[in-house]
Amino acid sequence: MAQPERPLSPFMQYRWQYTNTLSILHRITGILLSLSFFVLVYWLAAAASGPERYASALATIGSPLVRLLLVGGLFSFSFHLLNGIRHLFWDAGYGFELPIARKTGWAAAIGAVVLTVVLWSVLGASLGGAA
């Protein structure tokens, strides 16, 4: 059955590429950081409620599920920070040329992974590791 050539809606033919991957990652990491914000508030409130409450809060924060969220939070912080700086430069009118945008995109992605490893090695113990 021969179908006549019809125009496709743009989103149907949109090729998956690094630009939309990084854009989606910026959103996902933003959502993860918002969740991590609630952990920060929980941690501060526990510290204000005295040593016993604080100790039990650290045990909760050190539980595997929350630690997983915090590792995701550290990656999110790293990526959202680096890609966010990229966004700020765009807003100021710099870095739109495709070769530059591609380079800064890769720099943000690889830099985020490196920064996560560095941050985890420095902060892993503070983030409920020794609790």
Binding site: G30, F37, F38, L40, V41, P51, L123, G128, G129
Partner: protein, 129 residues
């Protein structure tokens, strides 16, 4: 912050909503969070292994740390509200649901921010560990 020209305002032209103010606030808070976020992770590293209770208390007893922590909580909540709002607006089509979710989002972040601010103030003005 309005990007409308004075002439446009007099003639009643342009958007009736606050898109440019949202956009502008998102950027200003982003710049602030670059500094505040890096400060917080550096502080966390300095607190050392396990972030002992006494270390956290004496850390927030310093006026500088307390002000930075207050700013971190307030600016993060505001920036998160601005960002999550756009995500919800994009994916929730139904206007009634969207309104409820956006109000709930604001409510949750304001409550969380107040809890965080109160906690920092309690430690800052509380007894030295």
């Amino acid at each position: 912050m309005s990007l409308r020209s004075p002439l446009g305002r007099v003639l009643g032209l342009g958007s009736a909503k606050g898109g440019s103010s949202h956009w502008y606030s998102q950027r200003v808070t982003a710049v602030g969070l670059v500094i505040l976020g890096c400060w917080f992770l550096a502080s966390l590293a300095l607190l050392g292994a396990g972030a002992q209770h006494a270390a956290v208390i004496s850390w927030l007893h310093s006026p500088f740390s307390a002000v930075m922590a207050l700013l971190l909580v307030a600016v993060t909540a505001y920036h998160a509200q601005l960002g999550l709002r756009v995500v919800f607006e994009d994916y929730i089509g139904d206007k009634g649901t969207r309104l409820v979710v956006l109000v709930a989002l604001k409510f949750a972040l304001v409550v969380a921010a107040l809890i965080g601010i109160l906690a920092v103030l309690r430690i800052a003005f509380g007894a030295q560990a």
